[in-house]
Structures are given as structure tokens and as C-alpha cells.
Symmetry: C2
Subunit: 450 residues, 2 copies
């Protein structure tokens, strides 16, 4: 089985290869850099192979050059039937674009992370098959007929809902990002994790569908004057429980069953999870089985020690759950390699738990000079925003950075600014500017600047 | 293997069942309609089963009622590892939500249609595994290293691009619907196709990523003063070729490789297809291998006879490629069955090849009275728009319709209005208002009204 080893003259990270013939790949892709510029900026357009003859169609170009378009075997034979795959899968040539567990990150794989391969993705929607996973005690194929959601606490009527009860309620659909609070966590210290899949891959963005939390709580007669806190309890063996600040999320939270048009995937909480836009992923409780309305934070096991901010004096700041404004360049990124000089489309993602992305700046010289990137539409609140920017690589070493600004005016900080306040021993809530170094050989690596 | 046979007290269409125990299902889901109203409008909230004891947790409600939440086996055991599926799949309980070929629609399955199961989907994004397929000579796993795109005709420089050449160009990402020009085609006559999967399921909506057509043509030095037409040629055995009106699409068309964040699926044109927002699906040429700029329509085999509008006098109107404003209620829809009276969230899709959806009206009495539906955000140009509306079913027969209006002011027509102009023997471009009849037994069927 072959594989798509390089895209846009960017060789993918080594773990994306099935074969290890790196040198052969490098050589076969050399380009003629005397070719005329692309967009008058220096794109070395490679006239694709196409020099063999045989069954080739020979077209005379307007400028007199013969240009040959080879005929391929799939043009002369009968292809596969429709619905050969009633539920479709990616091309066999994409077999290495998969979720990956970081070896050794945790002691057991049922309480670990599988990261989204951001380096190979486009746009803002994460396909469901590549949505990241953070499990605390593994995942289940839960029978939706058996699943229940209880609502209790400061409510007039305690309730237990079936999925059928919930799915006949008024529903909404909205596109939001979800990011684990521990995403980019190893970068607090001096660990420079090699690829963007592992530095930033606890990040996904989907269209979620479900009943608004406000509708559900109104139905149960919740006392929202006293009830400023919500306890969300998951149905897996970890007994995951999180306190959620109700006034912060009441207008936007969704008790969701749909993800990108279909039911949630089992590893992402099928049949029911809480969607809390802007809030760290651990609070998007999966296999949601209980919501309790209360008048004070619950200080559960999962929030007493985890998902809080360790300060330099050894104390921890609790309940800082909003994912602040952040961005990262995904192409090119660590572990990849530029195969020639010339024009590149540099692409990345920006997001903010506070609202919309207003602007993304990109630097090619480690933060000395900045240019404004193009934002792809739609730019949505608390969703990923894709940015792109033109770059002509001259072959000299370069340091690529992106810096996002959200519509509150907050500017994504440098790692130095974060460490000055919070030290180097935290795990959670690292939203620092990411630096990728491009070496003179084109190799891209993770470096910590400033 | 069990299955989710009903959602929100709506039984799915029979072909969504693995078992045929319909009567048992009906009986076990009877509800106590004396329960208090939901949203003060008549939702009969079912207190989910939860009456057995054993390992159940017993919570005393605020109003004194004991409410019991059963403990499930998945709460007390270790679940599956992360990345058990490096590329994830839907829950085993969703096994019947699949693309389906309409039996007998064509003589061979390599030149047929697999329809998207709209009746079970949410929001606007179609998951890639359920994107509809319309194949003319089957589909292929094309090796992206071998694939080429030629650009020729009224251009300064004929070019042959590799995928690597294309993927380093400036890219954009945008969400758009794609609809086959023959969608809803059988309804021109008196065939009332039973389910929305078969009436409207040649419809999907994804985020597409690629190089803007305008950038590619500029790079080749296209003469856009003379060159008002584009020939797009596909790489499959059918030799699919389509003329595209360049001025209409130049600002929006994309030569695309990405679909919902990942590479296109093989059956949808991997590694390259043309995305022509608002235009019928046949022009979104798959396995795109050649673009020719010309000064007149090409009148190819695929447009001389097919995808045009047969008029009552026997003549055909050609090159009417824009998909006009249209909508359909997907839940409830044909083949489903309402299992009780009371509150329902009626949900559907609206779209226009001319721009954004401005408003969707819904009627529950066959078009005599109309109410304005809620539109889910984002409302995007030439993308699906999800609408929802509250409905309390009183148990009497009802006829449900939706009517979309786009931002040009165009109002979706009735089937009678369309037939008055175009007769009953057309295949293509049927954007009529769809009527679903709800019988007094709750059964939903396709009826043609007006």
C-alpha cells in the first residue's frame, strides 16, 4: 500500500510514513527553481512529471509547448459500485492520518489520550473519526435505550429522561471547538514535543446538536437565583464529575447527542454529552447521566487536584476553566520538512473560549516582524478559525509563529509571559505562542523562544 | 446487535430496522398523556423507565417524589483503550444509518446513486461517511502521486499540475451544499417515493478546502475576456465532461482536495474535485483531470441530453445549472411514525444556489397557515441551513410542509406551480414544496398536494 508522503512539497512527519525511504523521496522531488514565479512572489511551479508517452494524450499548448496528460488505468475500466461502503471510509492512501496515543504518557491506555492529527487537516471541521479522545477509564458502546439522564438538586421536579424524551425537545445546532485543559501541557517545562499532533492535538471542532441546557433546566423548574452551579456527572467507570459555573454558560451550553450531523461517537460520549462552549474539555462530560443544580462549587475529586493552575508558590488556582485565546501553525509544523525553496501556503488554527477571533498575525523571524493572515469564513464564536498566509522560503533558517487576538482584545501571550506569572511546573491552560524552526535543510522542529 | 429504533418518540422508517417487531415497539412506548405540559405547550414528558431497584441509586426529589437512577454495568468496569479505533466509526447502535442505493433505479450499481439518510441527521454538516454518491462509471482508489490536472485552452501556458503542486498553492475553506440536479426527480410525475432518504437524499453539505479556481486560472494566464466558459473533465471511465459558465462561478469555485477537514473520500473524487457552489452536483466534477478555458459552451454528451429541463412541448432547456431555493422537513418524514400525541421538534433543511436562506415557513395544515421556523446558525451562502419549529400534535391527520425564501426574495414553489410551466415528465431541477401526511395512527407518508 502506497501513501501520500508529501503534500504541497511538505514532507509529512516520520510517523506518517509507512516506508522509511526518506532520501529517495527527497531526491525525486527536486524542483527547477528557475521556473517563473507564482503570484509574482516566487512559487516554483513544478510541471508535473508527465513525460512518458504510450497511451498519453498529446495536447499542443497555446505557447507551442507540447504538454502531455497521461491516461490512467482508472479511465478505461469500470469502477466500484455505489454504496460499496454504506458508511464510507478515507482513501487507502490516507491510512496514516490517524489518531495517535502518545506512548508512555499514562500508565494504562484506558486512561490516556489519542491526539488529533492537526498536521494533516484542513479547514475548521474535525472529521468525527479523528476527534481527539481523552479517556479517564476507557470508553463504552452504551445502549441508548438504557441510557438515562437525571436532573436533580435545586429543581422543582427531579427528573429522569430517556434519550427519546430528550430527542423530542427543541434542539439547536452550533459549531464549537473543544480543547482539553491539558493541551500543550508539556511545553510549560522545557519539553519540546516533536509534532503538532502531540503539542496541540487535544483540540477538535464540530457541529453539535442537542437541547439547550436552559430549556432542559426550565423544564425541570430549576431555581436559577440560588442555583449558580451545576454538577455534571459522567456515566463511565471514572465517575467523572465537574462543577460548572451556570451564569457563564447558561445561554450557550447544550445537552448534545449530535456531532457533525450524526450521533456522537462512542469514544466521545455516545449517546449524550455536555457541550460547554469555551470551557475546557473535561467539563464537556461524556455519557452524561446526571445534572445537579447547586448553590456552591462541588469541589469534586476531578477538580480538587486536576485541571487547575499550579502557581510558582505551590498553591493552585481553581475553577479557571475558560480556554483563553490561542493559535498554532499546523502546516508546516514540527517533524515535517520543506522539500524546496519558494512559495508556501502557511496554514493554521486560532480559537478563543471568550468569543470570535479578530485577527491572526504570523511571524517568520521569531516574532520580530508580523504580517496579518487571511481568516477563512465562517469566523464563529468559540469555534476554530482557519488562517492562511503566503510565504516564500528563501532557504535560510526561519522561526514561524502565530499570534491570535480575540474580539475582547486579548492577545495570545509568549511562553515567557506565561512562565513569569505561573512558573514552569504547570500542566494546564498553556495558550502560549508556538514556535516552529525551519532549518536550512527544510526540517521543521519545535523550539521554545522567549 | 440492538438498534436505536425510535428517536424523540418518532419511529424510524422500516428500512432502518434490523428487527421487524414494530407492534412490540409501539406498545412499550406508550406514554401517560396526563403528564404536565412541556414549555407550557403540551410536551408529554416521559419519566424514563427507571422503576427497577437492585443496584439503583435512590434520590429523593425536591417535591418528595422518589426518583431512581439505575446504575449500569459500564459504570463499574474498565472501558476500551484510547485509539482502539485510530480512525473512529459510529456506534454499533447506529448501524442502520447508512447510505442506500435505490433498488432498480439504474441497471448497474456502478452507474447509480447511494442516498444520504437525511431522516437521521442533525445540523448542516454531512459526515463524510454518509455523503451521497452519484457514480457514472463507478469509483476508484486513485493514487494521488499519479493523479494530474491539466489546464489548457485560452491560457498563456498549458500546465499539468501534480497534487503536490496544487496543495502548496494558496487555499481557502468554505462550507457549501451539493445537490444532484436529479434530486427529487421522481416527484415530477405521480411517484411518491416513500422516504426523505430517497426523495431528497442526493444532498450533502461539507466544508471544502482547495485552491480558488481564480488563482489557478490566473497562474496559467487565462484569457478571461474571451474565455467565458470552462470545460471540466473527470478522471473516471465515464469521461464526464461539463461546461461551466465562468463569470457566474469565478469568484467562488474551488479546485478542492479537502472535505470536512480531511482529504476527499474516494467515492467523492479523491484526490481532486471541482467545487462549484450553487451549481448542480454533476458539474462538481470528480477525479478532476482537466480544465479547458473556451469561448463557447462545449455541448458535451453529458449536457446535450442529461441534466436539462424537458418542457411540455418536448423541447429541452439547456444549461440551467443553478439549484434554486428549496427546503424539506426531515423529521418527521415519510416512513417514520409518531408514537404519541404532544410536543415535537419538527426539523428540516433549506438551501439556495443563489445565496443565503432568509426565512423558512412551516405549515401543519397543507399550506393554509404558515409559521416562521427558527434558523440555526451559521446561515451561510449556498450552504444548508437547519430549521426547527415547535409542534404539538393533537392526534388528528395533518399535512406538514416547509417553504424556503432566499435572500434574492425567491419563494420555493408548489409542485403545481412547477408542473404548470414544465409539465410532468421532467427529471431535473424539482425544487417544489414537499408534503408529508401524518395519519391519525401517526404514520408519515409522502403525498403530493396542489
Amino acid at each position: 500500500m502506497a501513501d501520500q508522503k508529501h503534500r504541497g512539497q511538505i514532507k509529512q512527519a516520520p510517523e506518517n510514513f509507512l516506508s522509511q525511504d526518506l532520501i529517495a523521496d527527497l531526491n525525486e522531488n527536486g524542483m527547477d527553481d528557475a521556473r517563473r514565479g507564482f503570484l509574482r512572489k516566487g512559487f516554483m511551479a513544478a510541471l508535473g512529471g508527465a513525460v512518458s508517452v504510450g497511451s498519453a494524450a498529446n495536447v499542443l499548448a497555446a505557447d507551442g509547448d507540447p504538454v502531455i496528460l497521461e491516461k490512467q488505468e482508472w479511465q478505461t475500466t469500470l469502477g466500484k459500485n455505489v454504496a460499496t461502503m454504506p458508511y464510507g471510509m478515507p482513501s487507502i492512501y490516507e491510512a496514516n492520518l490517524i489518531r495517535r496515543e502518545s506512548p508512555g504518557l499514562t500508565r494504562v491506555s484506558a486512561a490516556s489520550v489519542a491526539f488529533t492529527p492537526l498536521q494533516g487537516l484542513f479547514g475548521i471541521i474535525t472529521p468525527n473519526g479523528l476527534h481527539f479522545e481523552r479517556q479517564h477509564q476507557g470508553w463504552y458502546n452504551i445502549d441508548p435505550e438504557k441510557h438515562r439522564l437525571m436532573v436533580n438538586g435545586l429543581v422543582k421536579h427531579n427528573r429522569v429522561f430517556t434519550m427519546n424524551d430528550l430527542m423530542r425537545l427543541p434542539s439547536v445546532s452550533r459549531i464549537h471547538f473543544i480543547e482539553c485543559g491539558a493541551n500543550t501541557g508539556l511545553e510549560w517545562g522545557n519539553v519540546a514535543v516533536p509534532t503538532v499532533q502531540y503539542t496541540h492535538g487535544m483540540l477538535s471542532c464540530c457541529e453539535f446538536t442537542g437541547v439547550p441546557l436552559s430549556v432542559l433546566l426550565e423544564e425541570c423548574g430549576a431555581d436559577l437565583k440560588k442555583g449558580k452551579y451545576l454538577l455534571a456527572e459522567g456515566g463511565d467507570g471514572s465517575g467523572m464529575t465537574r462543577t460548572i459555573n451556570l451564569p457563564d454558560v447558561l445561554n450557550e451550553a447544550i445537552v448534545a447527542w449530535g456531532m457533525n450531523g450524526e450521533m456522537l461517537r462512542p469514544e466521545n460520549g455516545f449517546p449524550l454529552r455536555l457541550v460547554v462552549p469555551g470551557v475546557q474539555g473535561v467539563s464537556w462530560v461524556k455519557w452524561l447521566r446526571r445534572l445537579e443544580v447547586g448553590d456552591m462549587p462541588y469541589a469534586t475529586k476531578d477538580e480538587a487536584v486536576h485541571y487547575n493552575d499550579l502557581m510558582p508558590d505551590g498553591l493552585a488556582r481553581q475553577y479557571t476553566s475558560i480556554q483563553e485565546c490561542k493559535s498554532v501553525i499546523t502546516t508546516p509544523s514540527g517533524g515535517q520538512q520543506l522539500l524546496d525553496k519558494g512559495f508556501y501556503n502557511v496554514s493554521g488554527l486560532a480559537w478563543s473560549g471568550r468569543g470570535k477571533i479578530k485577527r491572526v498575525d504570523v511571524s517568520f523571524d521569531g516574532g520580530n516582524n508580523w504580517k496579518i493572515a487571511r481568516l477563512e469564513t465562517p469566523v464563529l464564536s468559540k469555534a476554530l478559525t482557519r488562517f492562511n498566509i503566503d510565504w516564500v522560503w528563501d532557504g535560510a533558517p526561519a522561526i514561524l509563529q502565530s499570534r491570535a487576538i480575540d474580539d475582547t482584545g486579548y492577545v495570545q501571550p509568549t511562553i515567557k509571559m506565561l512562565r513569569d506569572v505561573r512558573g514552569t511546573r504547570s500542566i494546564y491552560h498553556n495558550n502560549a505562542i508556538q514556535s516552529w524552526k525551519v532549518g536550512s535543510n527544510g526540517e521543521v522542529s519545535n523550539v521554545q523562544v522567549g
